[in-house]
Amino acid sequence: MSDEKYLYVKKNWCKRCGYCIEFCPKNVWEFGDDGYPYPARPQDCVRCRMCVNICPEFAVIGEEEVTIKLEGR
């Protein structure tokens, strides 16, 4: 099983709408200095999947295998 707290944003798909940040019930996400969201407080994540489900770009990924599979796309 992959890392319980794995959270990743695929930056070349993200369009920076900010939904992941706004709709996370645990306030895990923030915009980074590069303008893209990153999990600033991953320890607070309760694995509700809101960020994954609300991202219109399929850019929030919760499994390392998926990140690897989509590498280069």
């Binding site: 798909w13 900010g18 939904y19 994954v52 770009e57 399929f58 850019a59 919760g62 499994e63």
Partner: protein, 280 residues
């Protein structure tokens, strides 16, 4: 933490997709894919049919058999697929313009026919792709390229229309709550007969251009604030419900569906002709 959508993206498609930043279509598409998976459907037995419009581009991104058909006619192509092979799970993706205006007649008759399709209406209240015309679900008084002084007509309520026309399952979801949305779609897929899931979403580009509704995030927050579950809505007055979007299940019936009734006619007449032969 699984996200079904990543298992179903067509390998040769380019991403990010064409939809504007903050457009709700991606959220609905991912919810449809999760619902198909949750309903235990084999991807080779699922057909996704769409018409024309921003929303109708959805099937090209996911790995199911698909038909990207003509404007307003998604239901007619889907009806043909279903009647030819009733074993297939047929999903129809349509926008509010495509489905309720150009295809409005097909819509009411598909409800009346109660054919076993699941129609998901990507409802952002405007024609995005074709130039910002007012759609049949645009709130009265809102602006569009064809309504520079505000639209004069009252909007269709997709769910009321579907309910009155006889669809077996009618529900409304909203993109700000993707899990209930997925559950409604799953229920629609599992239901024999015609299912309609109206999905309230935002168009942060064209709608915003004519109505100054704010950036994508503001529009999403406003949408969330407007959504009221049907149980709560039942306790509110018409005045209080003004401008709100009622979500939940509005019809869940068990009328016989079209292809089952059709098969029955074939079986009955086959039996009759066998009897006739025996009596000769």
């Amino acid at each position: 933490m699984k996200s079904a959508i990543h298992d179903y993206l067509r390998p040769k498609k380019k991403f990010p997709h064409v939809w504007c930043p903050g457009c709700g279509h991606g959220i609905i598409l991912a919810s449809i894919v999760r619902a198909i998976e949750a309903a235990g459907k084999n991807r080779d037995e699922v057909v996704v049919v769409s018409g024309i419009g921003c929303s109708s581009r959805a099937p090209v991104y996911v790995d199911f058999s698909s038909i990207h058909s003509t404007h307003g006619r998604a239901l007619t192509f889907a009806t043909g697929v279903k009647v030819a092979n009733p074993k297939l799970t047929v999903i129809v993706i349509s926008g509010d313009g495509d489905g309720m205006a150009i295809g409005g007649n097909h819509f009411i008759h598909a409800c009346r026919r109660n054919i076993d399709l699941t129609m998901i209406v990507f409802n952002n209240n405007i024609y995005g792709m074709t130039g910002g015309q007012a759609s049949p679900t645009m709130p009265q008084g809102d602006y569009a390229s064809t309504a520079p002084f505000g639209t004069l007509e009252r909007p269709f309520d997709v769910c009321k229309l579907a309910n009155a026309s006889g669809a077996n399952f009618v529900a409304r979801g909203v993109v700000t709550s993707p899990i209930p949305l997925e559950k409604h779609i799953k229920k629609g897929i599992e239901k024999k007969g015609f299912s309609v899931i109206d999905v309230a979403e935002t168009c942060p580009t064209i709608y915003n251009f004519f109505n100054k509704t704010g950036n994508p995030l503001k529009m999403m927050k406003d949408l969330k604030a407007k959504a009221i579950p049907v149980q709560k809505a039942n306790t509110m007055t018409e005045e209080e419900l003004k401008g709100k979007i009622v979500t939940g299940v509005f019809a869940d019936r068990y009328y016989p569906d079209f292809t089952t009734s059709y098969d029955k006619i074939i079986m009955d007449s086959a039996k009759r002709s066998m009897k006739d032969e025996e009596s000769i």
